[in-house]
């Protein structure tokens, strides 16, 4: 290039600085936006890659349904490509804080893998210490140094014995950490509590009593060098995964054998013990029976003897009685005889005595009387003797009688005591017999039970399945997967957004460059006549365009690469826990964006020059014939046309005369309005989501969750108690469980909602079609109602069937009866009866939705519920949940501002350029009408009517485009767990119009002053 030409180029820039700046600005915007937003996605990915490398996040995770052993570790260590294998034990536990239960994922700290970032305090040294995540402290009110109580479900060891998993369940919090495994707010699902893990915590490996592990983390050789979102990384990991898959069969079999053998051995042992015990019990029972039998016999003989003795005694006493009676009889007869004799004898004696007396009186001699007297004496003596004899005989008899009585009572007493003894013995025996019977029954029962158990164990043994190995990689990490998804989403937006800017850039460059070339026709002609080559002449314009592009690109890239990814990352930083974003100069996007910009600007320069350079120098040096005026179709409608003022007629004709400008303005303004409408529309869609979800759809005021493992009776009592709590007006009893749908590609958090009484559900949750206010869906036996986004993700419609795996891992097929409006999370609604039918399980309530009298009592009621009802695990008020989500949503407003500001810049550049071109192109005409005596205002109207009209057309099309752009952005931004309430409020359109008009007005004011400055002398100059 010749020196003079270079000088000319630089002067040209100086002289047409406005034009230069407008090209530069639009390039800056286009390049900055494209490169900046495009770079956000790789920068975000880079950030996570670096973070994962620093924290040595695992590449592969192996989980087994039967746990993993040291042997597994050793085997995996030897798999080719495996760098390191570390083990950990993880379990979901319940931590209570201030009466509220949280489900916490407890895991042992791993060395040199998934390294925790210590934010505060220290890492645990032994089983008495633990570390928690930050939100645990902020939500539960605990702080470092507090001791928390952990309720962990007991686990079965290999032998099948239930064991406490933790050595101690009271553990002190010693630090706050950040785990690289949880970069999103999502903590995964759990079978405990409400089905979701709330927090994570880490404990010392020593705290665990188990010897087997739940997780093995594996790092692959060379994986950390590769970028974790690259194909190369995927190949490395996939390779190792396949190799692990190969060896897994053997390990699974080994683990199966181990557990099977252990169980079998245990059964054998149990069988033996059982047999022994059975024998022993039997023997004992037999012995006891024998003893009883012996005793019985003894008693029987005793009884017989007793009877014999009694009989003998009886007969003996009888004969003795007889003898005595006979003796008595004899004695009595002797007595009688004696009495008779006595009487006779006494009579004799009396007679004799009388005789004697007589004799004595008579005086009979003594000799004669003596014998008689003697005889009387003798008789009396004899009588006395006989009486005495009799008396002694009677006495003897009496004595004998008494003796007999004594003997009798003695003997009978003895016999009776023997009898009593025997009766006692008999009683004892029957008691013993009874005891024995019971003991026997007991023993029998025990043995039956033991036998049954054994049978069961044997049955279960058959049931021991070969373990499944889940070989996972980072893509199965919910946080990582959704993060990568989000970055892709941003990349999507980045592809579409800058298109508007580039189209405008191309148009602006084209109009500017062709105007410039036109203005310099004569010069071009002169140069051509002087013998400069086409390229040399064109190079001025090419350099002009290139300089604008290079400077614009440079500034654009500097701003774009530094600012935009940071804004995007900050936005996402609110949803992900990641270190400060990595910002990188992205060569790829630099080349693409600068090339695109170059094509737009330099292309426009070349195109404009080529047109001029094709002509002969002479033609060029002659003034270019002005573009002929043309009648426009509007003129045919005379009625309208004749009513138009001149300026309007000129405007109408001009619009059709300068098609490039017409197009550029409309596209630029349209882009501006569309971006603003999209910005506000995005906000409308997001901000409406929360009030819709909590208020229109979820109408209940409070959710009360019950603890796990309650009995049906406890649940009933608790529900009764809760419903009688003051302040609660109505309630519905629900079973809510986390379920899985297997044919969904990425894991989603889906809750199944089963109301006890589906008729009442509508008081608490509205099931209806979106946009249809009147028709409310009711649950029925036919099928389930699923939420809209879930249906979209699954690509199903009403009438399709779904395979749903409930929280007990039972899979069942149900029909979709309706699809309901829903914005946050995924839900499946099902009647109690249908649930019982398809899952063959009982309905067990675990949640209560309730309405309360008014909002003021919320806090008090919450405390009261937790205090009075020990079976409640949590009370969540809808208003709280609403607040949490609202905060997250507020951050989205930033996006809206980015859109509005960029839209404004776009509008400004376009309109400014338009007005500049418009003035420079028509300077002669404008100077002429000034000479004609147009007031400033009239001159301004003459020009701006066109701009205004084009702006209005642009705005109208922009409103329409904004509507579609909103839907596009909303669809690409939307996270899987949510559905934006796609809508653009009327006021957003109004904002779109107003803001565009404001930018337009700023440009118009600038135009007004530019017009005032136009020198009328221009009208006298010859046409160039």
């Amino acid at each position: 290039m010749k020196k003079a030409l270079l000088k000319d180029t630089i002067k040209e820039i100086k002289n047409t600085f406005k034009r230069f700046i407008s090209i530069l600005l639009v390039v800056l915007l286009g390049v900055g936006f494209f490169a900046g937003i495009k770079a956000a996605s790789p920068d975000m990915k880079m950030t996570v890659d670096q973070y994962f490398d620093e924290q040595k996040v695992m590449d592969i995770e192996v989980i087994s349904t039967l746990g993993l052993t040291k042997d597994d570790i050793n085997t995996l260590q030897n798999v080719e490509g495996v760098e390191n294998v570390v083990s950990s034990y993880a379990q979901d536990v319940i931590v209570s804080a201030e009466g509220e239960d949280s489900v916490v994922k407890m895991e042992t700290i791993t060395n040199d893998m998934n390294k925790l970032k210590l934010l505060e305090g220290k890492l645990p040294n032994d089983e008495t210490e633990c570390v928690v995540e930050k939100s645990f402290l902020s939500w539960t009110g605990h702080s470092i140094g507090d001791t928390i109580e952990i309720t962990a479900e007991k686990v079965k060891d290999d032998e099948g014995n239930e064991k406490d998993i933790l050595k101690q369940n009271k553990i002190k919090i010693v630090g706050v950490v950040q785990s690289p495994l949880y970069i999103s707010r999502e903590r995964g699902s759990s079978k405990l509590g409400a089905g979701k893990v709330n927090y994570y915590m880490y404990i010392h490996p020593n705290a665990i009593t188990q010897e087997i592990y739940t997780n093995l983390y594996i790092s692959c050789a060379g994986a950390s060098e590769a970028k974790c979102y690259d194909k190369k990384y995927e190949n490395i990991v996939e390779d190792v995964k396949n190799k692990i898959e190969e060896i897994s069969e053997e390990r699974k079999q080994a683990r199966y054998n181990e557990i099977y053998t252990k169980a079998e051995d245990k059964i054998k042992e149990a069988q033996e013990t059982l047999n022994k015990e059975e024998k022993k019990a039997n023997k004992e029972i037999n012995d006891a029976q024998n003893k009883i039998d012996d005793a019985k016999e003894e008693v029987e003989t005793g009884k017989t003897q007793l009877m014999q003795n009694r009989q003998k005694a009886n007969s003996e006493f009888e004969s003795a009685d007889k003898q005595i009676k006979e003796a008595e009889k004899t004695l009595n007869s002797q007595q009688t005889a004696y009495e008779k004799t006595k009487k006779e004898a006494q009579k004799q004696i009396e007679e004799n005595k009388e005789q004697l007396k007589i004799m004595q009186e008579q005086g009979m001699p003594e000799s004669i009387t003596a014998p008689l007297a003697e005889g009387i004496k003798k008789a009396e003596l004899e009588l006395e003797e006989a009486e005495a004899k009799l008396k002694s005989a009677r006495q003897q008899l009496e004595k004998q009688k008494k003796e007999l009585e004594r003997q009798k009572s003695n003997t009978y007493a003895k016999l009776n005591s023997v009898e009593a003894e025997l009766t006692n013995a008999e009683k004892e025996i029957s008691q013993n017999e009874k005891n024995l019977k019971e003991a026997k029954k007991e023993a029998e029962e025990k043995i039956t039970d033991a036998k049954e158990e054994l049978e069961e164990a044997k049955f279960k043994l058959k049931d021991i399945k070969k373990p499944e190995w889940y070989i996972l990689d980072r893509n199965q990490n919910v946080g990582y997967a959704s993060y990568i998804q989000d970055t892709d989403r941003i990349a999507n937006i980045a592809t579409v957004f800058p298109v508007v800017f580039f189209v405008v850039a191309a148009l602006i460059s084209l109009t500017s460059m062709s105007r410039m070339v036109e203005e310099e026709r004569v010069q071009i002609g002169t140069l051509k006549a002087l013998g400069y080559t086409k390229l040399q002449i064109a190079s001025k314009y090419i350099i002009y365009a290139m300089l604008a592009t290079i400077i614009g690109s440079g500034i654009g890239l500097a701003i774009g690469f530094n600012v935009l990814p940071k804004i995007v990352m900050n936005l996402y930083g609110m949803m992900y826990t990641l270190p400060e974003g990595v910002i990188e100069f992205n060569t790829e996007y630099t080349i693409i964006s600068v090339t695109l910009a170059m094509i737009c600007t330099v292309g426009a320069a070349i195109y404009s020059c080529a047109k001029a350079l094709r002509q002969l120098p002479a033609t060029l040096m002659r003034p270019k014939a002005p573009k002929p005026g043309k009648r426009v179709f509007l003129e045919k409608i005379t009625f309208i046309w004749s009513h138009l003022s001149f300026t309007r007629k000129v405007t109408a004709r001009n619009i059709f005369r300068y098609k490039k400008r017409f197009l550029m303005t409309i596209i630029g303004v349209m882009g501006c309005t569309a971006l603003i409408v999209a910005g506000f529309g995005l906000r409308d869609s997001i901000s409406q989501m929360i009030p819709s979800q909590y208020g229109e759809i979820f109408k209940y005021h409070v959710q009360i969750s019950l603890k796990d493992n309650l009995t049906t009776k406890q649940i009933k009592e608790e529900i009764d108690k809760i419903s009688h709590t003051e302040g609660i007006t109505e309630k519905i009893v629900m079973n809510i469980q986390a379920v899985d749908i297997t044919n969904i590609s990425n894991t989603q958090n889906i809750q199944m909602m089963i109301p006890e009484n589906s008729e009442n559900l509508s008081q608490f949750i509205t099931l209806k079609q979106r946009g249809n206010k009147n028709e409310i869906y009711t649950l029925n036996q036919e099928g389930v109602i699923i939420t809209e986004k879930l249906a979209k993700l699954l690509d199903v419609k009403v009438g399709d069937t779904l395979k749903i795996k409930n929280s007990d891992d039972i899979e069942a097929e149900v029909k979709i009866s309706n699809i309901t409006e829903n914005y946050l999370m995924h839900y499946i609604y099902m009647t109690k009866e249908l649930y019982q039918t398809v899952y063959k399980e009982d309905f067990k309530p675990n949640t209560i939705y309730a309405n309360i009298e008014n909002k003021e009592i919320e806090e008090e009621l919450g405390h009261k519920l937790l205090e009075n009802n020990k079976q409640i695990s949590g009370v969540t008020f809808t208003s709280n949940t609403e607040n949490v989500f609202s905060e997250i949503m507020d951050n989205m407003n930033l996006v809206v501002w980015i859109l509005i500001i960029s839209a404004g810049l776009l509008a400004f550049v376009v309109l400014y350029n338009l007005s500049n071109t418009n003035i420079s192109e028509r300077i002669r005409e404008l100077a002429t009408i000034k000479v004609l005596g147009f007031y400033d205002k009239e001159v301004y109207d003459y020009v701006s009517k066109e701009t205004t009209l084009l702006t209005i057309i642009g705005i109208i099309i922009g409103l329409l485009a904004g509507y579609f752009l909103t839907f596009f952005i909303v669809n690409t931004c939307e996270l899987d767990m949510m559905m934006f309430d796609k809508r653009v409020n009327f006021i957003s359109y109004v904002y779109g119009v107003i803001i565009t008009l404001v930018f337009g007005t700023i440009v118009n004011i600038a135009t007004y002053f530019a017009l005032r400055k136009i020198d009328m002398i221009e009208s006298l100059k010859s046409i160039e």
């Binding site: 014939a625 002005p626 005026g629 000129v650 005409e925 002429t928 000479v931 004609l932 005596g933 046409i1023």
Partner: protein, 233 residues
């Protein structure tokens, strides 16, 4: 008092450090209804004088009076009003609005002034009754200049200023245009000032002002102007 008074007018342009004197104490007078031809070489200051007379430029010092109105003292807005109501301007390159038809170009001027003449009548007068609805690009140069003159006189101005009206036209057409201007002056009793570098046109004028080096060095009153058709050049 003369209709137009140009008294001690100085006009300086600052081009960076350099001050260029375009007019240096220029004096001349013109009577109402005269046809005036201003002649002089390029850069003599005749256009500057015309611009000042047309209210398109201001003086650095001196006074300019037209019909007793001192335009050298007018503010910008008053100048516009002056241009709007008192001045008709005919350009060398016609300066028609390409997007307006002949009659519309005339109307463009008439719509802004207080007592305009009927555009169609004027166009008839300049001999364009059959070309009224044509766009400038469909008209020949002479025809375009006729439209421009029609536009200027339709405003019914006090002063018709013409800057090299025949400069872009061929001899014959130029002659016709000058005839038109002379007729306008005579018939409408309008004061007409024509700038030209062609001195052979001077006989047609009532008054000839010669410019040289930024000043009117010679003013000649022509008591018997020659009709245009008799002038040859």
């Amino acid at each position: 008092m003369a209709y137009i008074e140009f008294k001690d007018v100085v006009k300086e342009y600052k081009m960076g450090e350099v001050v260029i004197k375009a007019l240096d104490s220029t004096n001349f007078e013109v009577e109402k209804g005269e046809l005036v031809v201003i002649v002089g070489p390029s850069g003599a200051g005749k256009t500057t004088a015309l611009n000042i007379l047309g209210g398109m430029d201001t003086v650095t010092s001196g006074t300019v009076k037209i019909d007793k109105k001192e335009i050298s003292k007018l503010k910008e807005k008053e100048l516009i009003k002056y241009r709007r109501e008192d001045i008709g301007f005919v350009f060398q390159f016609y300066n028609l609005v390409q997007n307006l038809t002949a009659v519309e170009n005339v109307e463009l001027a008439t719509q802004i002034c207080r007592r305009p003449l009927e555009p169609k009548t004027i166009l008839k007068k300049v001999g364009l009754e059959n070309r009224m609805n044509n766009f400038p690009s469909q008209l020949s140069g002479g025809e375009q200049q006729r439209v421009a003159i029609a536009r200027a006189i339709a405003k019914n101005p006090k002063l018709l200023l013409c800057d090299e009206p025949t400069g872009a036209l061929d001899y014959k057409t130029g002659k016709q245009i000058l005839q038109l201007l002379q007729d306008t002056c005579r018939k409408e009793k309008m004061t007409v000032l024509i700038i030209t570098h062609n001195t052979s046109l001077t006989p047609m004028a009532d008054r000839v002002i010669h410019f040289k080096n930024g000043t009117a060095y010679d003013i000649i009153k022509n008591e018997h102007p020659t009709p245009i058709e008799e002038i040859e050049w």
